[in-house]
Symmetry: C2
Subunit: 121 residues, 2 copies
């Protein structure tokens, strides 16, 4: 599909999609028409974009995401301890989840307080 459709279906702007592609997070190939230089994005780019959104929500930077992706396909890299890298991210994200849940609790408590009518003395 072309970038406009991808943008509409993913909810991300064209600029963001181009930015992601420049960073290497998604890929496209030249379209069928020889008259233009429009790019074509495969259907499953949408799934990848969802995964990227998950990773971002988990606090990963794009740079880390790229490292992570490279781990997924090339498990035979000499000069890089993939397991250690992954374990570090796992610890980070687990901590973030714990903190987020703590914060979620305080949000819920705050809402309760707000919803409770003030006590008459």
């Amino acid at each position: 599909m072309r970038i406009g459709e991808l943008s509409k279906r993913s909810g991300l702007s064209r600029d963001t999609l181009r930015f992601y592609e420049k960073q290497g997070l998604i890929q496209s190939h030249a379209g069928a028409a020889a008259t233009n230089n429009y790019r074509d994005y495969p259907e499953d780019t949408l799934i990848q974009l969802e995964q990227i959104a998950d990773a971002q929500a988990a606090g990963m930077s794009i740079a880390d995401l790229i490292l992570f992706l490279s781990q997924l396909e090339a498990a035979d890299c000499e000069d890089f301890d993939g397991e250690a890298f992954l374990q570090a991210r796992i610890d980070e994200v687990a901590d973030r989840v714990k903190r987020s849940e703590r914060f979620l609790d305080s949000l819920r408590r705050a809402k309760l307080v707000l919803a409770t009518p003030p006590t008459e003395p």
Copy 2:
């Protein structure tokens, strides 16, 4: 306590602490000595900083945090629907937690794949 101690005990840089104070996230008062203009931070600033860290981990911006804090103490604001605001943040954070956990799973799967020796054909 003075800023140096707060920095050491919180793990945040002085600059970050001053930045937070300028934003209104933490407060200090003038110290006892009349000879200088050193500021004094109450003991429970450390707790507040932990809560701030939780909120940041949950993806809240400092601007939102300030709004949230204002909700906690002033529940009688006319021109602002605090409950709606809180509910929106709750939804946001809950979604982020869900995404983070999904991502955490894929990290763990990736690590498993990496740890598993390649199959002999």
